[in-house]
């Protein structure tokens, strides 16, 4: 693996050995086990197991709710990042620190407290449910949980980009007679776009695999509020390993496609910054 060259520092063999052994034991072998079991399935069997009506309904909810939540994160995350970087107001530092709260809070606790907040007798539900906005045990609940979980991604991707924007560009636009809105749309927004899209894709990718926060708030009704990861757990509880594996492979393929997109976006946005 290593290039033949003279090295001053010792320890390459040892550390590389430890790294590869640990990586194999913890990640690669379990991964390979799943791949081998998948390859044992015929294409027809795989397709039948991965596209049952219940599975299709679960994909629709998982991908649909993840998309809506990622869009909400893109809109509010951009706004939040802008406000935190550009303005000074009471509580700014506190909110800035709290943005990472969804990363730090265990997902089960997030699901528990959100389900309680939006239930008919909860702090928010008591006002929202009479208006017909039911956040607990509905697809909307899934969107709420996923919006919470994905909140930090857009904000944290965008903040450094906003901080590094050169004020001269905006000043030039203003000098040339552009109004503030026009400056934002024509000058600022294009340089923010790659970072917003990266944050959006990160939030989307995280939402697709999310499980802990959703099981508490969604009610997990087949065909209605059941997400794909939950259906995998159901298949496992029925000891239907192959059914679980087929669903897992669909999720994995999608995650890896998104990972590729995210890498391209990061490449694009790093070019933008220089």
């Amino acid at each position: 693996m290593a290039r033949p060259q003279f090295r001053v520092l010792p320890g390459f063999g040892l550390t590389m050995g430890v790294t590869l052994c640990y990586l194999s034991a913890i990640v690669l072998i379990p991964f390979a086990a799943l791949v081998v079991r998948t390859l044992e399935l015929s294409w027809g069997d795989f397709w039948r197991l991965a596209t049952t009506d219940r599975a299709l309904a679960a994909y629709r909810l998982t991908f649909g709710a993840s998309l809506v939540a990622a869009v909400a994160n893109a809109v509010f995350g951009t706004l939040l990042a802008w406000v935190l970087v550009r303005y000074d107001f009471p509580g700014r530092r506190f909110i800035d620190a709290m943005v990472d709260f969804p990363f730090a809070l265990p997902t089960a606790v997030a699901g528990l407290t959100l389900a309680n907040l939006f239930a008919a007798n909860g702090w928010l539900g008591q006002y929202l449910v009479p208006l017909g906005i039911k956040g607990a045990f509905t697809p909307l609940g899934v969107v709420i949980a996923l919006t919470f979980v994905g909140l930090p991604f857009v904000v944290r991707t965008l903040q450094p980009v906003l901080q590094n924007l050169e004020p001269e560009v905006e000043e030039a636009a203003a000098t040339l007679g552009a109004g503030r809105l026009r400056t934002f749309v024509a000058v600022i927004a294009p340089s923010l776009l790659p970072a917003v899209l990266t944050g959006f894709a990160l939030a989307f990718a995280r939402a697709i695999g999310e499980y802990g926060s959703i099981v508490f708030i969604s009610g997990n009704l087949p065909f209605k509020t059941e997400i794909a990861p939950y259906l995998i757990v159901m298949r496992l509880e029925e000891y239907d390993y192959t059914g679980a594996i087929a669903l897992a492979v669909v999720l994995l393929v999608f995650s890896f496609l998104l990972l590729g997109v995210i890498n391209l976006l990061e490449h694009w946005s790093s070019r933008f910054q220089h």
Binding site: Y22, L23, I95, A104, T107, R180, Y241, L258
Partner: protein, 286 residues
Amino acid sequence: MSPRGTEESPVAKWVLIAIALAFSFVFLLLPLVNVFAQALAYGWAHYWQSLVKPDSLAAIRLTLLLAAVTVPLNVLFGLAAAWAIAKFDFTGKPILITLIDLPFSVSPVVAGLMLVVLFGLQGFFGQWLDAHNLKIIFAVPGIVLATIFVTFPFVARELIPVMQATGTEQEEAALTLGANGWQTFWHVTLPSVKWGLIYGIILCNARAMGEFGAVSVVSGHIAGQTETMPLRVEALYQGATEGSAAAAFAVASLLALLALLTLGIKTFLEWRQARTQKLIVGRVDS
């Protein structure tokens, strides 16, 4: 339009701030405050009793054990991986980094499934384990493996950029002056990556104690034996008895405190790093 033309009008500015505050209030502050309010809904006595029930205490012990096993292992791996990747050139480095990040793009449930496929009764080693009376799935070893899987990248991905930034000159100087490899590592490398390491440790620890999906798949949910704190929260939440929801929130409140502590340390480390950078820039300027 403002006089300078590079600022929003005060009205636009305060509308944006108001939306940001409202959004943060609903999605960040309320969920946090609600955890503690619901945990104390039946008073302090009920709160305390929920925590000292044998099953809850067992869950707390298991969660602490998980962190005590997972974090040191991931630290050792993180240091080894960062040393190999940051200090040496070799072909395939980008592939190795991608593989280290892999657990982040796998759904926790799928991570648990992989372990079941490997060690479950119908899995690759299922028959062999059963014949030797060893249990991994639906037992503590499976929970440990699942937790290590999901927390795998945390320490390494914090350390790699820090070690890359410090370069190799200091280590080379130490070696030239007669230090051996271990001395160089302890006295030169480790101090220079100390803060990045602490950052990785607190993130790894928070996830290890809070993981739900992967652990849920392999745990078997045996109260008092294979329930971690997040799983205990779920079991109490599903229990329909009077006050069991408040008990769920009581256990959850400990995890929320852990999250706040993690955030506090993280904020302090970031503030410290920003200050150090300012000092360095100031020195260069003057």
